[in-house]
Every structure is written in structure tokens, then in C-alpha cells.
Amino acid sequence: GDSVTQTEGLVTLTEGLPVMLNCTYQSTYSPFLFWYVQHLNEAPKLLLKSFTDNKRPEHQGFHATLHKSSSSFHLQKSSAQLSDSALYYCASDTNAYKVIFGKGTHLHVLP
């Protein structure tokens, strides 16, 4: 069936270092991919989403590239900030209505 896989449960790194959070997906059709971020005691909210024309989405310094050949949509940032500490979810719309999420990756940025 359709699924989203995030291999890291926790990523800890020092401020200023690059960030990469992994996301791969399985789908019976060609889905759109999303990254959501959830800060402590807040609701998840959209960080960025894939485009139809293979443009690379960017937001708040984060970017992700959809690679259909490897079914991946990894989240990257060149330099982590303390405020980036949060829970990050990768998601896929298996059809227009049904949106499924990965298990989430906690990003912990140290000073």
C-alpha cells in the first residue's frame, strides 16, 4: 500500500551545521509530497510542498527536491538555527483527499 518513510526518529546537531531529514514514499500513483513542522505545544503546519513542474520549493531557508526516480523528498537547510528545533513530518497525498504522514523526525539543534 501507500506509505511514507522517515528513517530518523531523532536528529541532533549543532547550530550552524547543515540539516538533512530523509523522506521516501511508496505510491500507486504519482503523489505530491509535503513537509509539515510542529513546534512544541503547537499544531502541525505546512512548511513546503512539491511542485508539478519540478521546481524546488523553499521556505524559511528549508528546501526539498522531489526525485521520482528514487521516490524521495528529503528536507535540507544549509545552516541550522536553534529555532528550527521541532518535529518534522513528511506527507503524501495518496489521492486528492487522503493525506498520509510519516512517523516524524525530531530535530534538536544545540547551541
Binding site: Y36, Y97, F101
Partner: protein, 113 residues
């Protein structure tokens, strides 16, 4: 903009009890969702509804019922609360079109004693 309101914020129930969680949205969205959030297990889809009076089962629907009474509201019932069900339940909504954002409420934290 809009908002999704979930009530109650905290729900304490006894094992075996039937419990209902409520959700209201003022986005005028067609599609609404219930997700369960457990640490290390992510967001798992319980039920979703494409439009008023529609119900679709997600991957975790066993032990739950849902009701979409009107476009703006979507309720979730835990039919018989179990201690391993303690989690945060998130309601969400979207337009239901492809590649569209899902908006979330702040959640209901369920504790079963």
C-alpha cells in the same frame, strides 16, 4: 484565514467508556480528517470525510466511529476506551483538491484511567 477548534483540549475517561471528541472548522473546507498522534508513530489517519455525511476509513479506524453532521463539524467517538489509546487526537481540514495544504487543530489529549 480560518481556524479549527477542537473540544475538549483534555479528556480523561475510564477504561471501557465511550468518549466523543469534537471538531469545528470555519475555513468552509469540504474535507476533514481525524489523526492520532503517538510519539514515535507519527500521525495515523483514523477517519476522513470528503463532504457532509461522507465517511471514509483510514488505517486506524478499528475501535472508533466518526460523524460528519454538517460541513463545518466532524466528531470522533472512541467506542470503548483502552489504556493503550492514550494519545493526542488531531482534527484537520483541507479543500480536498490535489497538492493542497491540510490545516490542523491544536488537538485533544486523551488519558484513560
Amino acid at each position: 484565514g480560518g481556524i479549527i477548534t477542537q473540544t475538549p483540549k483534555f479528556l480523561i475517561g475510564q477504561e471501557g467508556q465511550k468518549l466523543t471528541l469534537k471538531c469545528q472548522q470555519n475555513f468552509n473546507h469540504d474535507t476533514m480528517y481525524w489523526y492520532r498522534q503517538d510519539s514515535g508513530k507519527g500521525l495515523r489517519l483514523i477517519y476522513y470525510s470528503i463532504t457532509e455525511n461522507d465517511l471514509q476509513k483510514g488505517d486506524l479506524s478499528e475501535g472508533y466511529d466518526a460523524s460528519r453532521e454538517k460541513k463545518s463539524s466532524f466528531s470522533l467517538t472512541v467506542t470503548s476506551a483502552q489504556k493503550n489509546e492514550m494519545a493526542v487526537f488531531l482534527c484537520a481540514s483541507s479543500t480536498g483538491t490535489s497538492n493542497t495544504e491540510v490545516f490542523f487543530g491544536k488537538g485533544t489529549r486523551l488519558t484513560v484511567v
